[in-house]
Symmetry: C2
Subunit: 357 residues, 2 copies
């Protein structure tokens, strides 16, 4: 029996390839996260966020938690976009309420020259093991998404030393010493290709690149420092595994009209945030790629009735066609009541079939 | 002698109206700010940021400081977009390193119902007096810009109680209780009209609306909760003063393709951040409005030579034509060396005349 027959719900994988589906599949960015009390319990048990990421059994446990509650059409590996700089030895800590801190930030050509490409089967073994374990525990219920941060986005943390509001340090490097930044992006790109291919080899059935900070760049800097490296990554990913295409999703938050340029990427789907209407995105991107998005995550603060109304608007904005994966435009907020997420998912399944008739 | 003849440099006002100018005028958002040691000295003398805003002599002093250093083509009133909620009695404090704090945030219809429209000649008298004083001290060197925050942007602080990353509280209100938010926006709109008209009456020769947070909204929410109120404001502003048109500039940071809709506003010019090329913005907006922008503020971290190269790119992106006011795409960062700002201003004056031949 081939593995494909093991997958009981392939609606998500088919939608990513614009193939006919009976309804619009749905998952949520950060669906395994703090809004779930069971996540908070496992997180407490783990002691630290990093330990949660690095313990395959715990990462598997939280990955599966939202699937036990909701009829989601995909699971996503529980991990973090900063596993690569961590594996490169830059030192990563998550301070409570502060976000990530890189203890040895990259500030010079000399700093970059010390960086090597981590071996995904050594320094990132815990991720590969988590993927294998999750696949086993999923038992074909839904596909598993693997992911990584875009080189630009990961580089912002490496250079700034953590989160930033104005990205002063990395932009100073970009404008003053672009070759240093390119060298950093190059090693991150190589690391990301090997990392994602290892995730695919271990069982990831789709992969997503998160470019959270691409939109802080001018359009020309975006092309040079973010898009070009993502293009290289998607072009070098394994195209198939287990006899099935492994769809690639690229998401630049805030891309807006740059979606028209992203449409040339060698990937199956593009993520769309809530600041762009899906109808507009579809015009920019054309019909050859699927779109994933794009409910404003803040809609989930409203009542279930209001949530349903807004879900209908997003479905209508995409309109008829099979290339839509419903999602939030960004990660679910920690204060959202789980019942509100349930209302969203239920509404997608209830109201979407008419767009696939 | 009429007042117009008193103005020695009207290049900025003419460019805002797309009238012929010999070069591209330039000013910088937050040009009176922390990157200047003389500003930091006055700020220290004032004791608090709020006291600096509220003391006309000190506000005048810092407004004029960048003009003493640089050949800028406009001055902008030193003030803050939160003077209106402060005048409404919501309590405003600026915590060091924390940004603004609204002590009595607006969370309910009852909270909104208590808000009145401040009398600009009473509660905001200090702003009107600062405008008069600055005009006198400017002695016609360059025009003075007055400003206010957009109702949506000011409302985010009123509801969140300060700065925010996810705007959870105001968006919860927007999706769940839109009539409460509309009531808040309505009173802020009325207050802003009276406030800006008082600034014009006191001598502001152009006015600008800062919509810093409009782009955190979906396009339809942007239209309903931000753009509609800005449209009302610009339509109700005094059209002329001292025998001269008072140009109106509207700036939504992150507007992107929404610039095409902003083009219908009754205003002379639109601000453009660095995430949109001016050539693209010009296509969206058309030739009837001037554009103000759009150098990435982080370019000023680079060397003067690199700054000059990037200035040339922005000038070339706008291309030939008179409707361009050079500016940064957002406020100048506090860590920028003043010499770098000087290099930018000098480059604009040096390289722009050929676009006006």
């Amino acid at each position: 029996m081939n593995s494909q027959s093991n997958l009981k719900n392939d609606v998500f994988l088919r939608a990513l390839q614009c193939q006919p589906v009976p309804y619009t599949p749905v998952w949520m960015m950060r669906q395994a996260g703090r809004y779930l009390p069971e996540y908070r319990a496992t997180r407490a048990k783990a002691g630290s966020f990093l330990n949660l990421c690095q313990t395959p059994e715990l990462a598997c446990e939280v990955t599966l938690q939202p699937l036990a509650r909701f009829p989601l059409d995909a699971a996503i590996l529980f991990s973090d976009i900063l596993t690569i700089p961590h594996a490169m030895g830059l030192g990563l800590q998550f301070e409570t309420g502060e976000g990530p801190v890189i203890q040895r930030p990259v500030r010079s050509a000399a700093d970059v020259s010390k960086l090597g490409v981590p071996d995904p089967y050594q320094e990132l073994r815990y991720v590969v093991d988590a993927v294998s374990l999750i696949r086993r525990e999923l038992a074909g219920r839904v596909p598993l998404i693997g992911f990584a941060g875009s080189p630009w986005t990961v580089a912002t943390y490496c250079v700034e030393g953590g989160s930033s509001r104005d990205f002063a340090k990395i932009k100073a490097m970009m404008y003053q010493e672009p070759s240093t930044l390119h060298a950093l992006l190059k090693v991150l790109t190589r690391a990301t290709i090997e990392y994602l291919n290892a995730q695919i080899a271990a069982g990831a059935q789709a992969v997503m690149l998160f470019d959270t900070w691409g939109s802080v760049l001018t359009p020309s800097a975006y092309r040079e420092f973010s898009l070009a490296y993502m293009a290289q990554i998607v072009a070098e990913l394994k195209r198939e595994a287990e006899g099935r295409v492994v769809p690639r999703v690229v998401f630049t938050k805030g891309a807006g009209p740059l979606l028209a340029e992203m449409a040339k990427l060698e990937c199956e789907a593009l993520g769309v945030d809530w600041m762009t209407d899906l109808s507009q995105a579809r015009q920019w991107v054309g019909e050859r790629k699927a779109l994933q998005g794009n409910l404003d995550p803040s809609v989930l603060y409203a009542s279930p009735d209001r949530i349903r109304e807004e879900v209908v608007k997003v479905l209508a904005s995409y309109g008829k066609g099979h290339g839509h994966v419903f999602n939030l435009g960004h990660g679910i907020h920690p204060a959202i009541p789980p019942d509100h997420a349930a209302a969203m998912i239920q509404a997608v399944h209830e109201f979407s079939p008419k767009y696939h008739a």
